[in-house]
Symmetry: C4
Subunit: 207 residues, 4 copies
């Protein structure tokens, strides 16, 4: 199996196969993406569900729902990036695993950030916590890619490193823009993340 290309026979320090890192990562992504739903509160006390009450209820959930969708799709994008990057890897090593684990720490914080922003819609400090969370997550992904591709340390030969380098910087850059917008007093700074699919269109994935 290609995953065992870990130097064990050559006396070099052993690498690790990818499958368990993928299992832990898939598990944490799956749980974090599912726990997001806990940030949606079942509204209490709709004793008179007239059309007006229900409409008001649904309207009051809209900011929470918007950030639920935003966080879900951002986590999903990162998961796809992880999937694509892992395809390029020959194997992992301890440093790579630790970068991956710090990255997962930021993944587990996302449900907390989304709950905070859902409880404090339109408050700048909550938006900044959310954006700093995504900034950290994006930087860790970038660090992981840089580490893996430096001197083609862990990736298959023939991997298009440059395009990957550009793509991993999109979320950190958008996060910095969003934080600056928030600091400038703009209430809905998290809308900046809607730029991502647009930007990615100009940076199609390489091989």
């Amino acid at each position: 199996m290609e995953q065992r290309d870990d130097g064990r026979e050559t006396g070099a320090p052993p690498g690790f196969p990818k499958n368990r890192m993928e299992a832990l990562t898939d598990g944490i992504f799956a749980i974090a993406m599912t726990l997001l739903v806990l940030s949606l509160d079942v509204p209490a006390g709709i004793h008179d569900p007239s059309g007006a009450t229900v409409t008001a209820m649904l309207a009051s959930q809209l900011p929470a729902f918007y950030h639920y969708l935003l966080a879900f799709f951002i986590l999903a994008s990162f998961w796809i990036v992880h999937h694509v990057q892992a395809e390029r890897l020959r194997h992992t090593d301890r440093t790579f695993l630790w970068i991956n684990i710090v990255m997962l720490l930021f993944v587990t914080l996302v449900p907390f950030s989304v709950s905070l922003i859902g409880d404090y819609p339109g408050r700048i400090f909550a938006a900044i916590v959310f954006e700093v969370n995504l900034l950290g997550l994006g930087l860790l992904f970038a660090a992981q890619w840089r580490y893996a591709t430096h001197n083609r340390r862990l990736v298959h030969p023939g991997t298009d490193i440059r395009r990957g380098n550009q793509r991993v910087m999109v979320v950190p850059a958008v996060s910095v823009i969003a934080i600056l917008l928030a600091l400038a007093g703009w209430t809905w700074s998290t809308a900046a993340y809607a730029l991502i699919p647009l930007v990615m269109r100009f940076l199609p994935p390489g091989r």
Copy 2:
């Protein structure tokens, strides 16, 4: 490995192996199916557990329990469908992964819908939220299947596409019926989903 049939050698845009999509999907289904249990409240204040009190308690939990069972078996059915469809796939691609992710979004919403309907038993707006959730889930499954089978894009040759096309439309059709029943003022419109096993009996799975 057959999963590596991704065009890498031929210069075509790369496909993805199925295993990690399956891992994320299995994880999210497992978590959503387990989180459903949180919609069952441990009843408080049974200080005098006489037969009458306990019977009353159990009776008060019946609607929540009915929707728990309903949601569990519907999610389980979708999981089996996903399992069966994935067996027919040669590999996936980015578009397929994104359809899968939107489908998973509707999966993660099911525990929320079930909690809502458990807190508001017999209320039409809660039934409609639940049914719209399943309509969306069903349509995404149908879209995923159509995408994969169009011109046999991703499926193994020899797959029985027509029967699959019929089966994926059952849940959306039943959901539309249930929504219409709810809009007509019928309180227990979610009972319509009990039709599914009956209908499926007339549409046995193809190869």
Copy 3:
């Protein structure tokens, strides 16, 4: 791969490989076993943590902790049984998958039963709910094994069916005893489950 021994070439109805059933099952077991911890409440209001207060606090958590341990090890035992049974399988089929799914339904109910018994320690109705849950779980495991081994339908030739048949009946039998003890008015009927390791000692696993 042996898992593809599914008759596809011979025109027989297709079987399914085992890996995804295992993934869903492992996921649901892992989540249910981890959610059990939510039945342990962090005690509130220890403002004066003298030795006496802390001792009283720990003592008040003992019944919840006992049932936490009990449920954890029972779920773990079932997981090991599933693991061992799956090793004997050549492949699965739709009926087997559905039995597995109903079994998983009872797995997801265990955290609810444990919470109930934790909130109502020493109450007979809570013990009965817990024991009925385990009875259902045990019967489904037995049914799954019987289905798989009937005429050696799904198992590898050479599997020791008789010993497996004896072992899968232990939990249902102990559950019936526990329910009878509860109905006879015995408060700590769940202690009957402590018999299981003893009984299993006389029924060592076959090949």
Copy 4:
């Protein structure tokens, strides 16, 4: 497959392949690491989010956040150790699986311990519960390694057993130190765990 090196052909008692033990373990680690985030409370009632209020809020969350980070990285370290140990295994057996399951019991208790210490920051009894939890977890890991390596029972030939023996005793030793510090009345005894990366630097992993 090497995983089938289980003696089935030779008449010896069967061993088990590693993959499902890894799946259950990865699932429980992933869930426990993600549930830790529930120990972070979304602060309520920030009606006047001036700079001072937000700073006070963030400051009040610092102890909870510190123990969140601590628990996350300790669980991550154990997961990496499990990963590395599993690479050395040829297969597992029933005893090994049961040691693994008791170890997982301590993993699922970590979110409870962290919630306790988050609700009672600076209280010695909460620190001791947390430290006893990690002591148990560490001892189980040590026992699992000793069992697997005794007479090279389950490990590949050529595994460096002595270095592994040293490394698995670090967390138990640090836990004993932390418990002694707590019993001596030191409030922040959990800071002792910051020693671990330092100690590990002097015990680099063997082959």
